[in-house]
């Protein structure tokens, strides 16, 4: 018997009510496998690659590219395979099987030499990046180049105005040096797809230029989305804040010794240790790991660790590293590189966006010693790490200079109080004093 199920617009974070279907990567009749990226969805924050959550066959595409629909709206009908192919409808729902970072994938995808911000600006302004002369040191297209192109559009004699194309198609066009205006779009409403671009590149058509003016401020949209979510957090969640200074002498010595024996590609950064400590501590103190929905706390039975990633040129996304407590440090490091590279190149996966159970912000990269965070609803806690600094420190009755980090916890008083939060920070501290243990694959409690 053949099950039929809907593939729906996923919720890619608590701040998302609707999304725009940008591109289908499959067509009716295509067989899809669980975890396959089947569509690209644009949110206020970024274009996200959306995976399907079961094997099946695409029967019908219900929504055309360019359409904005509410979260939960059926996008396509699939048959065969398992009964449900829904993407997780909301972060608080127990997630279906997830796509993890593939083992063995240690190198993050190499982004093209255009920053996500520039790409977003170009996309929003309808500027074809391939047609913009970059004034960067190696011909990179910079923000001012896009702004100039948007102001002074070179209108194609054949077909003026904006060429409808997906971000992937635009990216491919940029990579292949194809002018989008010369590409005949075969997608719905003549949208240019990746295949069209590749076909055009193969035929190596001569280039003409086409751009248009449609200046929409993507950065402002992201700022608005962050603002709305944080306002909701501060409105609804009674935060309390704790801090604890952690001596990192042992952890960093362990890290230095381990890295010394390794080539650069296999080295760890201190953030990997901090993340692993937070993930293991969340398992020890499960009251900080989960979501608060419908007036009740729902503890998560896994630790999907959100990692706040700042984007070049402003903005923030917090994709999840799945089962971070179960990953050895090498795997966690690979996953961290992957989510950061994807976040910054605008190629996050839906499964990375939808369901963190606890988020860590590591503002300490440069500068600040301490961060008092704002919780991402519907999560119930946020862990912060500041900069590692050298400070006078007494250990075993001896005053010395030690590397230390301030670990903070912002937590939800509806779920825990300071005593429980304090246990979490104490667990983080204890784990960082025993760095060898951080590398174990998360032994069962």
């Amino acid at each position: 018997m053949t099950a039929v199920a809907d593939f729906r617009m996923p919720s890619l974070g608590a701040d998302m009510d609707e999304g725009t279907l940008v591109e289908w990567l499959v067509a009716p009749g295509d067989e899809v496998r669980r975890g396959q990226v089947v569509a690209v969805v644009d949110t206020a924050k970024a274009a996200i690659e959306v995976e399907v959550f079961a094997d099946g066959v695409v029967q019908e595409l219900l929504v055309e590219p360019g359409t904005t629909v509410a979260v939960g709206t059926p996008l396509a009908r699939l048959s065969g395979g398992d009964a449900t192919v829904d993407a997780p409808p909301a972060p608080e729902v127990t997630a279906p099987p997830q796509v993890k970072v593939e083992p063995g994938v240690t190198a993050p995808p190499k982004p093209p030499p255009v920053s996500p911000v520039v790409r977003h600006l170009a996309h929003q302004a309808g500027v074809d990046l391939a047609a913009v002369a970059g004034t960067g040191p190696h011909g990179e297209v910079r923000r001012q180049d896009v702004a100039r192109a948007a102001k002074n559009p070179v209108v194609s004699p054949v077909r003026g105005g904006h060429v409808p194309a997906s971000p992937r198609a635009r990216r491919r066009a940029l990579e292949l040096g194809v002018e989008l205006a010369d590409v005949r779009g075969t997608g719905p409403d003549s949208v240019v797809t990746v295949l069209d671009v590749e076909r055009a590149a193969a035929a190596s058509q001569p280039a003409t230029r086409a751009e248009s003016t449609a200046p929409v401020d993507k950065k402002q949209a992201m700022r608005d989305a962050i603002g709305a979510l944080m306002a909701r957090s501060k409105r609804e969640i009674p935060h309390y804040y704790l801090r604890n200074t952690v001596d990192l002498t042992r952890a960093l010595a362990w890290l230095t010794e381990r890295n010394a024996a390794r080539g650069v590609g296999d080295r760890l950064v201190p953030a990997a240790l901090l993340l692993k400590a937070a993930a293991l501590a969340a398992r020890q103190v499960p009251q900080v790991n989960g979501s608060y929905v419908d007036d009740a706390f729902r503890p998560a039975d896994h630790v999907h660790l959100g990692v706040a990633v700042s984007l070049r040129g402003g903005g923030l996304v917090a994709p999840a590293i799945h089962d971070a407590d179960q990953l050895g440090l090498d795997a966690l490091m690979a996953a961290l590189k992957d989510v950061v590279a994807r976040a910054r190149s605008g190629r996050l996966r839906a499964s990375q966006m939808s369901d963190p159970t606890l988020t860590v912000t590591n503002l300490g990269e440069r500068g600040v010693e301490e961060v008092q965070g704002v919780i991402y609803p519907p999560q119930v806690a946020l862990v912060g790490f500041g900069t590692v600094v050298e400070r006078p420190w007494v250990a075993d009755g001896t005053l010395g200079v030690h590397p230390v980090v301030v670990a903070t916890l912002a937590a939800d008083h509806r779920v825990t109080d300071g005593h429980t939060g304090g246990r979490f920070l104490a667990a983080v501290d204890a784990l960082l004093q025993d760095p060898g243990r951080l590398d174990s694959e998360g032994e069962p409690e």
Binding site: G136, H138, R312
Partner: protein, 80 residues
């Protein structure tokens, strides 16, 4: 590798890691992490790219020597 060649390699690498940043304005002796906003993963990416491009594996203990544009260029000029 001559200092000029080294500088070309470095600016090329940084152009990929920090697209959109104007490298012509970077002070040769200023900390790159401040100048073009490199975080620890970006910095590691730079060291990885140096290894790929030049074969030079900068050990962690030498990281302080490659924190600036001039520093990286000098380091590569000596080691590559």
């Amino acid at each position: 590798m001559t200092p000029d060649e080294a500088r070309t390699v470095v600016t090329d690498i940084l152009g990929r890691i920090a697209p959109g940043e104007d490298l012509t304005d970077v002070e040769p002796d200023a900390d790159l992490r401040d100048e073009i906003d490199l975080d620890s993963l970006d910095f590691l990416g730079m060291v990885e790219a140096i290894k790929e491009r030049t074969g030079v594996d900068v050990p962690e203990e030498d990281y302080p020597k490659v924190r600036t544009l001039a520093g990286v260029a000098a380091y590569l000029a000596t080691h590559a």
